[in-house]
C-alpha cells in the first residue's frame, strides 16, 4: 500500500472537508466510548487486570527469544510448520510459496492487520491468486478498493448508506428491490455471498491475537465467526503474526483476554475465541490438512531495548484511537498507512522511519486520554515525545519552527532579559489590542487567528505589577 503519511496535513484537510466521513466518525464517539466505560465500571478488578496484563507482556518481551523458540517447538510437535520472516517481503514470499504448493487460486482471509502491514492482498492479486476478505468490515473495504481506517473496525469511516450502495453495485445478481435498510440485512447479505467462497478457497489466512508458547496455539477473537470458517474449511491454514503476539501460557492469554474485548468494544468477551493448534489430527471432525505460522519481525526486534519497547505490549484493541480527539477529527486514512491513531503515531515511525511518518507523533495535543484507557498501560504520549526528540535532534522539523523555538528558548533561559523584553512587548501588544481586547488577525500567529480570535494581554505583565506592589509595600513599611 502506498504510504501517504508525509502528506498528513493535506490528508487531514481533505478529511475535515468530507461530510460523509465526518458523519461516519460520529459513530466512533457514540459507539465505543460509553460501551467501554460501562464494561470497565462493571468489573471492579479492571485496574488490577491492566496491571497484570502489562506485567505479562513486559515479562514476555524480556524473554522473547525463549518464548518464541518454545512456541516453535510446540507448533512443530503438533505437526505444524513455523516460518520466520524478517521483513514484509520475506513474509509475502513465504505465503506465496505455501499458496503455490497448495495450487491455490482463491484464499479466504480472516481479519488481520499484519497482512495489511505486509500488503498481502495486492501482492497475491499480482501473482494471480484471489484473496477474499471474510470479515464484514474488511469485505466492504475490499469491494471499495480501500484500506482499513481503524484496526478493529476497518470500515468505520463509512456510513451505512454508502455500504448499501456498494452492495447494490457489486451484488448485482440479487433482486434490486431487496431491503437493505438495517445493518443486520447487510451482514446477512455479506454472509450469503461469502458462504460459497469458504468452500472454494484452497488456503485460509488469519492473523492472531495471541500465540501461546505453552501449547503452540494461535488464537483469534472475532464476532462474526468468519475467522473460524476461514481457518477450518480450506486444506491449508496460514497464520500470519508478528513476534510480539506471543504470551507464555494459556492462563496469561486468559488474563489479557479479560481486558481486550472490554477495551475494544465494551464486550466482556468477543463472541468467538478460537484456538488452533496444528493441523487436523486423526479423528478430528474438521480442520486443515496443513498448518503454517509465519512469524514476522519487520522492525519489531529493533524496538526491543529502546524507549519504544513498551509499544510492543500493544494488543490492538483500538481504545486509543476510539478516545483520540485527533482521530475523531480526521479519521484513520489521514494517518497515511496501516496503523492510525495514537498507537499508529508511535508504531508507524518505528516501522517506516520518522522521516516519513514525522507528522504522526506531532499531531497530538498530548491530552493523555489514550494512555488513560490503554489496557496495556502503554505511555503513548511519552513515546510520541520521544519521536519528536529524535526528529529534533536530526533537524527534521521545519526551519520556521526551529528558529521560533530557538528564539523563545534563548529568552526563556535568561530570566533578566526575558523580564526586560516581556515588560516592553506586553504593554505594546495590550495597547494594540485596544478596547476590543482581542485580535482578529495577528502577524506571526496566523495559525491561531485563522480560526479564532487572539486574546490581547490585560495591560502589563504580572511580574511588572508584582514588583511595584512589593516596592510599594516596602515603602509603606519605611
Amino acid at each position: 500500500m502506498q504510504i501517504t503519511s508525509p502528506a498528513f496535513k493535506e490528508n487531514a484537510r481533505q478529511a475535515l472537508a468530507d461530510p460523509q466521513l465526518q458523519k461516519a466518525m460520529l459513530h466512533v464517539r457514540s459507539g465505543f466510548i460509553d460501551k467501554r466505560q460501562h464494561a470497565v465500571d462493571a468489573l471492579p478488578e479492571f485496574e488490577a487486570l491492566r496491571e497484570s496484563a502489562r506485567a505479562i507482556k513486559d515479562h514476555t518481551l524480556a524473554h522473547l527469544d525463549i518464548y518464541l523458540e518454545a512456541y516453535e517447538e510446540k507448533v512443530r510437535a503438533a505437526g505444524g510448520h513455523v516460518h520466520w520472516a524478517e521483513t514484509a517481503a520475506d513474509a509475502r514470499r513465504i505465503i506465496l510459496d505455501i499458496c503455490r504448493a497448495a495450487g491455490a487460486r482463491t484464499v479466504t482471509k480472516g481479519k488481520s492487520m499484519i497482512t495489511e502491514e505486509i500488503g498481502l492482498n495486492e501482492f497475491l492479486e499480482k501473482e494471480g491468486i484471489r484473496p477474499v476478505e471474510t470479515d464484514l468490515g474488511e469485505y466492504i473495504i475490499q469491494l471499495r478498493g480501500e484500506h482499513p481506517s481503524h484496526i478493529i473496525a476497518p470500515a468505520v469511516h463509512l456510513t451505512k448508506d454508502q455500504v448499501e450502495a456498494d452492495f447494490r453495485r457489486v451484488h448485482d445478481h440479487l433482486p434490486p428491490a431487496r431491503d437493505l435498510s438495517e445493518p443486520e440485512s447487510l451482514l446477512g447479505e455479506a454472509r450469503r455471498v461469502l458462504r460459497s467462497q469458504y468452500f472454494q478457497a484452497d488456503v485460509g489466512i488469519t492473523g492472531a491475537n495471541f500465540l501461546v508458547a505453552e501449547t503452540g496455539s494461535s488464537v483469534i477473537v472475532t464476532n462474526e465467526g468468519n475467522g473460524d470458517l476461514t481457518q477450518i474449511l480450506p486444506k491449508v491454514h496460514v497464520v500470519v503474526a508478528s513476534i510480539e503476539k506471543i504470551v507464555p501460557t494459556l492462563e496469561d492469554m486468559s488474563q489479557i483476554l479479560r481486558v481486550l474485548a472490554r477495551s475494544a468494544t465494551g464486550q466482556d468477551m468477543s463472541v468467538y475465541t478460537t484456538l488452533s493448534t496444528g493441523p487436523r489430527r486423526p479423528g478430528d471432525p474438521d480442520g486443515p490438512e496443513e498448518y503454517h505460522v509465519v512469524l514476522l519481525d519487520n522492525g519489531r526486534s529493533a524496538m526491543l531495548g529502546t524507549e519504544f519497547q513498551d509499544m510492543l505490549r500493544c494488543i490492538r484493541c483500538g481504545a486509543c484511537m476510539n478516545h483520540c480527539p485527533v482521530y475523531h477529527a480526521v479519521g484513520g486514512h489521514a494517518y497515511g498507512w496501516v496503523y492510525p491513531g495514537p498507537m499508529g503515531a508511535v508504531l508507524t515511525p518505528s516501522l517506516m522511519g520518522v522521516d516519513k511518518a514525522g507528522h504522526l507523533p506531532n499531531a497530538s495535543t498530548f491530552c493523555g486520554r489514550c494512555e488513560a484507557v490503554c489496557p496495556m498501560k502503554i505511555p503513548l504520549p511519552k513515546m510520541m515525545r520521544h519521536w519528536r526528540e529524535r526528529e529534533f535532534s536530526r533537524g527534521l522539523n521545519p526551519a520556521v519552527q526551529r528558529y521560533g523555538l530557538g528564539a523563545w528558548a534563548f529568552f526563556a533561559r535568561r530570566p533578566r532579559l526575558y523580564r526586560v523584553l516581556t515588560s516592553l512587548a506586553v504593554p505594546a501588544l495590550a495597547l494594540l489590542g485596544g478596547r476590543r481586547g482581542r485580535f482578529r488577525h495577528l502577524p506571526l500567529a496566523r495559525g491561531w487567528t485563522k480560526h479564532r480570535d487572539f486574546p490581547a494581554p490585560e495591560r502589563r505583565t504580572f511580574m511588572q505589577q508584582w514588583r511595584e506592589r512589593e516596592v510599594w509595600k516596602q515603602e509603606a513599611r519605611v
Binding site: S364, T365, G368, R390, F411, A445, E458, T461
Partner: protein, 258 residues
C-alpha cells in the same frame, strides 16, 4: 510553652508564562486565595516558563536548561503552586525524568516535584480549604483541562470550591473531560484539526446553557475564548481562580472594556 501560631507555609508562586504575559489577574487571584488559606506567598523573579514548548517540541537541551533555572528559583520554598494543571504537571511529573540518573540534579528535581501543586488542588488537598468567600451571579460550566485531569487527578476539587461560591450555579457540559484542541504548539502546527476539536468544545459549551466558561489552564481558556468570540458567542471565559477569589469584575478573557 510556645503559644505562637505555627509558621505559615511559604509558597513560591509559579505564575506561568501565559498568566504573567496575558492574564495577571489570575496571578493576583492566586495570591489572594493562597493568602486567605494561610500561606505566605512569594514570587521569585528568576522564573520564566516551565519549558513545555521546548519539551513537547523534542528540544531536550533547552528544556533541561529551563528546568534547572526553575528548580533553582524555587528551592527555598515549602511549596510551589501554579495556577495551571499543565505547568504544575510539567514540574511534578516530567522534570524528574529529565534528570534520570544524574545524581544531584535528579534529587533536586524530585524534591521540587514533591512540593509542587496546581493551585486549586493545593487549596483543597493540602490546605484543607472547603469553601471560599466569593459571590458570582450566574451559571458557569467547567472544562477539565487534560493535564490537570489526567496527570494530576484534578476534577472534584474545583467543583467543590465552586459549589461554595454564593449565587453561582454550576452546570456540566457534555464531554467536559475531552480535550479542547489547544495542545500548546499543536494548535498552530495543525490549526485545522485544532479548530475541529475546539468547535466540538464550543458546541458543548453553548449547549450547556452556561453564561460563563471556567477552567484551570490559561492556554485552554485562550483557545476556547478565541473560538467563542470568533463565533460571536456571548459566553464569558475566565480562569477558575478569578471566580474563586472574587476577582471577576474586570473584563473576561479576550473581552475589552466595551
Amino acid at each position: 510553652m510556645d503559644t505562637r501560631a505555627p509558621k505559615p507555609p511559604r509558597v513560591g508562586l509559579f505564575v506561568t508564562c501565559l498568566v504573567d504575559l496575558f492574564r495577571p489577574t489570575v496571578g493576583f487571584a492566586s495570591v489572594k486565595l493562597l493568602e486567605e488559606a494561610g500561606c505566605e506567598v512569594d514570587v521569585p523573579m528568576a522564573q520564566t516558563c516551565c519549558g513545555q514548548p521546548a519539551y513537547n517540541s523534542g528540544d531536550r537541551a533547552d528544556t533541561i536548561a529551563i528546568a534547572k533555572n526553575t528548580i533553582e528559583a524555587f528551592e527555598e520554598y515549602d511549596y510551589v503552586v501554579a495556577p495551571s494543571g499543565s505547568c504544575a504537571g510539567m514540574l511534578k511529573k516530567h522534570y524528574p525524568g529529565l534528570f534520570a540518573g544524574e545524581g544531584m540534579w535528579e534529587a533536586r528535581a524530585k524534591a521540587l516535584a514533591e512540593k509542587t501543586y496546581e493551585l486549586v488542588s493545593f487549596l483543597v488537598d493540602v490546605m484543607g480549604v472547603s469553601a471560599v468567600k466569593a459571590a458570582h451571579d450566574g451559571t458557569v460550566t467547567y472544562h477539565d483541562s487534560c493535564s490537570g485531569l489526567r496527570e494530576l487527578g484534578i476534577a472534584e476539587q474545583p467543583r467543590r470550591l465552586l459549589a461554595s461560591v454564593s449565587g453561582l450555579k454550576l452546570v456540566e457540559m457534555h464531554d467536559a473531560d475531552v480535550c479542547c484542541g489547544f495542545g500548546g504548539t499543536f494548535c498552530v502546527k495543525y490549526p485545522d484539526i485544532s479548530n475541529k476539536i475546539v468547535e466540538e468544545k464550543t458546541a458543548n459549551i453553548a449547549a450547556s446553557g452556561a453564561d460563563t466558561l471556567l477552567a484551570g489552564d490559561l492556554g485552554c481558556l485562550m483557545n476556547m475564548a478565541g473560538k467563542l468570540q470568533r463565533q460571536g458567542s456571548a459566553v464569558k471565559v475566565r480562569h477558575v481562580a478569578e471566580v474563586l477569589a472574587g476577582m471577576d469584575d474586570g473584563p473576561a478573557i479576550g473581552r475589552g472594556k466595551d
